[in-house]
């Protein structure tokens, strides 16, 4: 075969290079660690650095600094990391699975279901553990309902589109049920409780909450991180991914199950925290590019750090704590708009 003459614009220099990631990931990890340390330090009660070492060496003997660090701040920081990382990772995975950068992890109704579960739990006067269990269970149930209904519909046509449409329907049903729960709730005690709970907060986080969320969170995160190569392939669409040898059906259910575990456990511990799962994957994609091998760990780190920063704001802006859901929307939505204006090449 004769050699082709190269066109002028074929030269590598004339083309923008796709970013190769490695260094950005290390930088993100360092920034994440810095945020964790900063968040542990932040607060009314000042714990000098030299005390930290003493606390870590002998947690039982360290008195008030030990209680502040290990019982108050550490659980809160851990919960923040888990929730931020969980929502961002599942958001990134969903954007690949649904081939749409505007998808957030509650697209199949997980948040709406979990919100209703919590509202119902408060309405029936359950304790905090009962409310969390109700929330988690209804989050899972909403997504199962979506999947069951979608699989009955999708004998012909695009299974992904069917899922999204049914997810919107199920989500709106549970949102209506939340309104119903609020309407019938006692306006002096239970209505404010439901309202505050739905606004989201990490203020009341207890060691027990972290224990409650840890298992489903890790169970959701690990498979997603392991499947990150397949997420690349899935973003080329159902048929092409199958022709490339990906087991798309199996992958789809694993990803949906994991993302639902993450979202439902996040909502059950901290209430409705919006925008994180949509904004952070975008930001991560801008920094490290679209390759899920790097994008997924980057979203995880960035999500954890972002959640801590927002929670730091919630703790320190005002004398009383500002609900987290309000801040994530106030910060997240304009930030997302900024990202959209910044991104010149479509969605990265």
């Amino acid at each position: 075969m004769p050699a082709e003459p190269r066109k002028a614009d074929f030269s590598p220099a004339a083309r923008p290079r796709a970013p190769r990631a490695g260094l950005p990931l290390v930088a993100l990890a360092l920034a994440f660690l810095a945020t964790v340390c900063g968040s542990l330090m932040l607060g009314r009660y000042h714990v000098p650095l030299e005390t930290w070492w003493r606390v870590l060496q002998a947690p039982e003997l360290s008195g008030i600094p030990g209680i502040v660090l290990l019982r108050v701040r550490l659980p809160r920081v851990l919960a923040g990391i888990l929730i931020g990382a969980g929502l961002s990772t599942s958001g990134a995975a969903y954007q690949g699975l649904f081939r749409n950068p505007m998808v957030s992890p509650d697209i199949l109704g997980a948040s709406a279901g979990a919100g209703f579960g919590a509202a119902a739990g408060i309405l029936f006067g359950f304790g905090i553990v009962g409310i969390q269990c109700m929330s988690f269970a209804f989050g899972l149930a909403a997504v199962l309902l979506t999947c069951a209904a979608a699989s009955r519909l999708s004998r012909a046509g695009d299974p992904i589109l069917t899922l999204v449409l049914v997810g919107i329907l199920v989500g709106s049903i549970f949102t209506a049920l939340v309104s119903l729960a609020k309407y019938v709730a006692d306006p002096y005690s239970k209505l404010p409780a439901i309202t505050f709970w739905l606004m989201g907060s990490l203020a009341a986080i207890h060691v027990r909450d972290v224990q409650f969320a840890l298992a489903p969170m890790l169970l959701g995160l690990a498979p997603l991180v392991l499947l990150r190569w397949n997420l690349n392939v899935l973003s080329f669409g159902e048929e092409e991914a199958r022709a490339l040898g990906a087991a798309t059906g199996k992958l789809r259910w694993i990803i949906i199950l994991c993302a639902t575990l993450l979202t439902a456990s996040a909502v059950s511990v901290a209430g409705m925290v919006g925008w994180v799962g949509l904004v952070i994957p975008h930001l991560a994609r801008m920094i490290v590019g679209p390759d899920y091998r790097v994008l997924l760990p980057a979203s995880l780190l960035l999500g954890g750090a972002y959640m801590l920063l927002v929670d730091d704001l919630a703790r320190s802006i005002y004398a009383t704590e500002i609900p987290l859901g309000i801040l994530t929307s106030l910060v997240g939505a304009p930030f997302f708009l900024y990202l959209l204006t910044r991104s010149r090449r479509g969605w990265a």
Partner: protein, 256 residues
């Protein structure tokens, strides 16, 4: 190796789109599938690739029925070259080609250095190595088509199934793609492709098949099958087939 489509019928919902089609090709063959829009070419391809269940008939590779094969095994035998498209995310060309290695990885696997080397080789063969670091969403349609062929090559399958590899390309890029196709056949790959241009079948096909309304009109050597009457029957326009230098034939439509 030998790929056989035996009395295949398939379609969507209640409506059959392809009926009773039998075709066969071996390693080193280029089988060109011609037919009007909606004649069932793409549907037949989906069935061959295992994306659409056959109503009856079989797809055989060296005599073995592929119906029970898992998608991974099928992908290691048949690689698919879709029409150049835009994915929602700006992957690097290198990574797009690397995705071909999925069929050789486990569920939780990630490509190794060896996989990366295979992808580099494939890009080298198709002459797109200089694009490796560019974003797939920003290269031209012709470059994308070559990258997709490189990806199929990196899949290390015995057969390539190409859906209109020359559509949406300018004349120069069409010729470039056809040359690569001939070269891949010389390397011993079996190629099954569709095209809208009878000329392309004359240029690179060792066998052609003509589909009309889901049924096979004829199959055989290009010179025997692509006659004026048969092409007029397939496309519904009057045309002439003219012999130019060295016995090469071209198809010219009549404009009145």
């Amino acid at each position: 190796m030998r790929l056989e489509i035996e009395c295949a019928s398939c379609g969507y919902g209640g409506k059959p789109v392809v009926e009773d089609v039998s075709l066969a090709l071996g390693s080193g063959d280029v089988l060109c599938l011609l037919g009007a829009n909606g004649s069932g070419k793409t549907t037949l391809f989906k069935a061959v690739l295992g994306l659409l269940r056959l109503r009856c008939g079989r797809i055989l590779v060296d005599g073995a029925d592929t119906a029970s094969w898992p998608q991974r095994r099928l992908a290691r035998t048949l690689a698919y070259v879709p029409q150049a498209h835009t994915p929602p995310f700006p992957f690097a060309v290198r990574d797009v080609v690397l995705m071909a290695r999925t069929a050789h990885l486990g569920l939780f696997g990630s490509p190794s250095r060896r996989d990366a080397a295979i992808a580099e080789d494939a890009m080298e063969t198709l002459g797109v190595s200089h694009l490796a670091d560019a974003r797939y969403t920003e290269i031209s349609g012709g470059e994308r088509q070559l990258v997709l062929i490189a990806r199929a090559l990196a899949q290390q399958s015995e057969f390539l199934v190409m859906d209109e590899p020359t559509s949406n390309l300018d004349f120069g890029n069409q010729v470039r793609v056809l040359r690569r196709i001939k070269e891949l056949a010389r390397r011993g790959l079996g190629l099954l492709m569709t095209t809208h241009f009878p000329d392309h079948a004359f240029l690179c096909a060792s066998e052609v098949a003509v589909l009309k309304a889901g049924r096979l009109l004829a199959t055989g050597k290009p010179e025997e099958v692509l006659t004026e009457r048969r092409l007029e029957g397939a496309y519904g326009v009057s045309l002439r087939i003219v012999e130019v230098d060295l016995g090469l034939r071209v198809c010219v439509p009549e404009m009145i």
